[in-house]
Symmetry: D2
Subunit: 272 residues, 4 copies
């Protein structure tokens, strides 16, 4: 009979523990929600400094208005108002490679460089040299730098300098943020144009500097977004727009005869 | 062309606002994550008192060990490790009527009584009278009282007195908690047995006293659980158990000939 | 150690069985997909007559153009193209009470009447009498009749007479369809207006006459819709529209100051 | 105002079309469900030969007993019985890279070889030569061959020869199946051991030979699995096991102090 060890929630007739703590007396009323989320993910209680940076990241990622995830949650609630869990889950399912993935991609990308560096730089000049190497290598491999560029904030994403500043204030400006900042300084000389360091990217760098598991960086973006999607549902309850969205698509459908265009890939292209 | 008004996230080339605030300067670094989630759901910034009660509720609901939702998230990650969003979404889909629904059911139940009362009681005696009426009516309708009873914590759920105490400390012990407490006092004389007020129920009462939208009480339980499920995934990365869970079921399957038992309901029972 | 009996799939080193059959030799190549889905749900192989009615229902429910579920699947794929399973799951989550629920609601409604009738009618006159009772009772309870009315097909839903005809051809015009047809005949004299019997409703009646489990009628609608959503994804690959849908919402957002309208329900209304 | 072209479902007051056909008269009662799913995905009506191969693939993939996806659907239904759509969606979310991905991976892998071949072989000898090249290249790149190997059916997967035979009977044994068969013949001389061609792999090869879009091969596996998961839910209604599964895990939890093992990756490893 297998056993399933866990350090998370456990209960007996008279006690409930969470992370080895007495839930009622030592967690409830004492531990903030951001702090708890960090603790659950790392099994280590964060310092107030770490909590402040972590919660700043969650704020940066919570809601970006009518993103596909927000529209999806509202449409799903329109269609299945009996299931709040379904509406939230549907919205989270859009949290993949394209819209929420930059945070994770950027954290992983920076981490790969950091762990493979022979020695970490100790000053800006050193970070700039490492960043030059990194950007040059990506360019030669014809790959993009995760976290660089933004389709709206072309002159700079307001979240980026703010998160650098908060991390510095809290003594948590570590190697990932250092490398990301250096990429921001040196990339124009290599790429021939200046791109902004975007907010999703700096969040990935900050989460990596907090020592959070890289495999779950997307998970923290999803946690932030869950709060945002609840906000979207609450606003939909106050002032519904999902039916208008639905009708704006349905009433502008144009029925055409099949096949509508060619399939881009077609396994059978070699037939006959 | 329809327009879609929103007070949540918005951005232009140089600015990002959230809830009408400057996201970078006035939210990041200043607003905790629990506080922000409350603000997003109500479009009103909570007081520190409200935030403390709200975060105590989230802590109470974040993780209860190997619940079906936790097992589901781990199994889905085992099966599709390429999609963290899918593993979290799958876990949240278990947040329905049975396992996470008590919070919502209890909040709604208490609220129905509170809004239909001619005048709200002003002392314990008055609340006891209203609670007696309420419990008697449910009993006559052969309905259960949401939030009453627990299959493990038969002598009392440790979270319940703690949340009452925190709400009282913060001046947020409102009508829903008052009625719930009174139900706890009077039900034995009507039902003939003493049942504990459970933690999920008191959380619903506290959330209703915070003025959160009743339609979304389940949503807050799901937000708390998202943090818990990230903890489950992080632990699965450290010490995987999902494959053992899977094998413990698959290796103990017993193949039988169909049909395995009768269908409980069968539309065709009147055929022939 | 618990054991888990099942009559579905099972395998050993040299064999694979499904529903007690040799999967490779007796199912593959011999059993159509609709037939198999019926068999899996009932653990009884359907007759060709039953299969034809069942597949007609699935065809009726597979795709209705740019429904919320279709839009959701396309938007989720736009946002997370790495996860086809997420895009399909998100679309299915809209299959709740409002858009796909009529099939289940109608099947259950008819079944309640049928199983509670003292004796089932044997001719149209008898069914009309039972239908009059049923419609009158619903009207007095101020409840709607599931399956009656359609916002587009006001003069009649083309699927309805067709499914009645197919069921009759196959000898599967049972009590649920009989009652539904009678409701179509008698309701104008009671409600004072003529409403069409809609396609989702007649599908529920036909599935109930097939003896399928009422708890899962929504499941068959979801199975049909899965095929439709794959069609939506395939078309999105050929001719993408999801980004235009997203932009049509995002570019027409109107940022307003919070709070945007009052919350419809507000637990805290009794505060202070 | 954007327009959204579609060749799928469309309706007006008196008509409903699907794929340019009159849904009621020309699809319902005439088109089987497997045939319809193929048509929806390709916008081309399959021949009866193609339908038979396609439905054989769906049968092969519909249900494999107590897989993680099946367990997840049952546990989610236990936890949220109010939402059949949630239980099915949760199960499908396990249809990712590990458990259902082989079909897609194998189809794509074979297709890459086929489209990059200068000329396609015309006899077994030619296919064997191409297969030798392919297996050698994978081996040198230290990559696995998708579709090769099975942890249970070590002497051969019964579905594999059967699907080859059905495709041959229907005249649909195309380049993907030819290459896959050749890989089965030649790999032992290169890898030094004989592995079975597994069922998921041969399904991918057959779907590719049917000319279905490679991006959606996983989608067809998910369609098949939807039918299987409805079967799992129907069986759970007849003979529930999910609560026993849950308890078998929960009762065998072993509460340990955090941290439970080290995180495998840890962004902060360079701190300090």
């Amino acid at each position: 009979m297998p056993e399933y060890p866990t350090a998370l929630g456990a209960s007996s007739r008279h006690t409930i523990t969470l992370l080895g703590q007495d839930l009622a007396n030592d967690v409830m009323g004492h531990v903030g929600f951001g702090e708890l989320a960090f603790w659950l993910a790392t099994q280590r209680r964060p310092t107030p400094h770490e909590t402040r940076v972590f919660e700043a990241v969650l704020a940066a990622l919570a809601d970006h208005g009518f993103t596909p995830t927000a529209i999806v949650t509202r449409l799903t609630y329109l269609s299945a108002p009996d299931s709040v869990q379904g509406a939230l889950a549907a919205g989270l399912l859009g949290g993949g490679s394209r819209f929420l993935g930059v945070t994770e991609d950027c954290g992983r990308f920076l981490h790969d460089v950091v762990v493979n560096a022979e020695a970490l730089p100790t000053d800006d000049e050193g970070w700039d040299a490492l960043a030059r190497e990194t950007v040059t290598a990506q360019r030669e491999a014809k790959k993009l730098i995760p976290g660089l560029g933004h389709h709206v904030h072309k002159d700079g994403d307001p979240r980026t300098p703010r998160l650098f500043a908060i991390a510095a204030e809290e003594g948590l400006y570590g190697p990932h943020l250092s490398l990301f900042a250096a990429i921001g300084r040196v990339h124009p000389e290599i790429l021939g144009k200046r791109l902004p360091l975007n907010g999703a990217g700096v969040c990935g760098a900050a989460l990596a500097d907090l020592g959070l598991p890289l495999e779950l960086l997307r998970g923290f973006a999803l946690l932030a977004r869950t709060a945002g999607l609840i906000g979207q549902l609450a606003e939909e309850l106050r002032h519904p727009v999902a039916n208008d969205v639905f009708l704006s698509v349905d009433l502008n459908n144009r029925s055409v005869a099949p096949p509508i265009d060619e399939l881009k890939s077609y396994g059978g292209s070699h037939h006959g």
